[in-house]
Symmetry: C2
Subunit: 206 residues, 2 copies
Amino acid sequence: MRLGELSEASGISAASIKFYLRSGLLEAGDAIHPTRAAYGIRHVRRLRLIQGLRASIGLGLEDIRRIIDASAGADASAEQRLALLATVQSVVLGYRGDGVRESAAVDDLVQVMGWADEESGARAAVGEHLAVMEAAGVVTDPAVLASYARAADAIAEAQLAVTDVQESIEEFILTAAIGMHLHNQLILALVALAQASHSIRRYGAR
Amino acid sequence: MRLGELSEASGISAASIKFYLRSGLLEAGDAIHPTRAAYGIRHVRRLRLIQGLRASIGLGLEDIRRIIDASAGADASAEQRLALLATVQSVVLGYRGDGVRESAAVDDLVQVMGWADEESGARAAVGEHLAVMEAAGVVTDPAVLASYARAADAIAEAQLAVTDVQESIEEFILTAAIGMHLHNQLILALVALAQASHSIRRYGAR
DNA sequence: GTTGTTAGGATAGTTCTACTATCTCGTGAT
DNA sequence: ATCACGAGATAGTAGAACTATCCTAACAAC
């Protein structure tokens, strides 16, 4: 496959493909000779991944690069894919893993939910987030937190189910990232709906 | 207060304030004479709102303008503020209110949750979102959906509690928008944590 | 009353992101 | 022989959100 054909196969303009090549998001094709290179199915898959992460989730190229870099050494094993999933999550959620903060609220939550009691980036993120919310004066009573946790548990389970499906690593990432994003958006829509209902309950018709 | 003082009071550069004035995000001060204008506390509040929506939530100026426009005619009454809250929500969640789709799943959900059975933008959004997820091949079984709904209900309740606090309309918007955003981020962080736990449970230490 | 620093208003320039277009050169196919 | 096409490099574009510059008027100090 030459660049023009790759462009047709992926639906991405040749100019953009060149741009991705320059940016290092797409590896160069096998150079047949100085002015000709051959591209394969992995290039098409990579382009679909880039395009999907951009169009469906709105990730920037820097974030996409982070995910691609993490996927570089991963094989099809469950452990590797889960590690990759963690990376995807941290990118989609925008964590940059700065400070680790202890939190009694998080400890309680982990206990109550029966989650594995282990130090992780996610745990630090939750603790940090609660601190930010407290600082911002946003109330989070334990009952609400528990409710969130149950929803989160359900989402996590749904995500892990997807993990078992055997696909190319690119399809795996895309499925996981889009699933994550859609679940998130769904929750937000439900909150809006719940809020509309509560408003009507409280104050009659809007 | 003159422009320079407004800049100092708000911590926003005079050049940016001028930009906001040109953009129509900030109303002009009272013109004392051709080359001098006076600004008041409402200008400071408006700037804080703009800055807060941008810095804390990452909203674009167009979105901020939508919220500000909606707040223009609102008084301090509960009904007005709830309507305003709905606008803030639609902007933060990125709804543009296109097509209304009927959905049996949403009807069931509303029934089960005991939510007010009324047509709303949010209800259409949920239905539409479920359709998108189905189209994308993302699984959403009823149990997961119910779990989300309970979490959403809790969030909605927490948000409404904030509604009762009497503040300036700008502070009200900022509190609501930031609260909304933080609750959302919190859920995402919890999902990450839950997923990490499930991974550990399933595959041992990472 | 003159001079000089500053406010206000308008216009143009900058930075960042993600491309897109152009230009050149070397081939390979006709 | 020629001619279009691929590869590489460089420059241009568009939108968003500022930022800098310029000009004029006027208040403030001397």
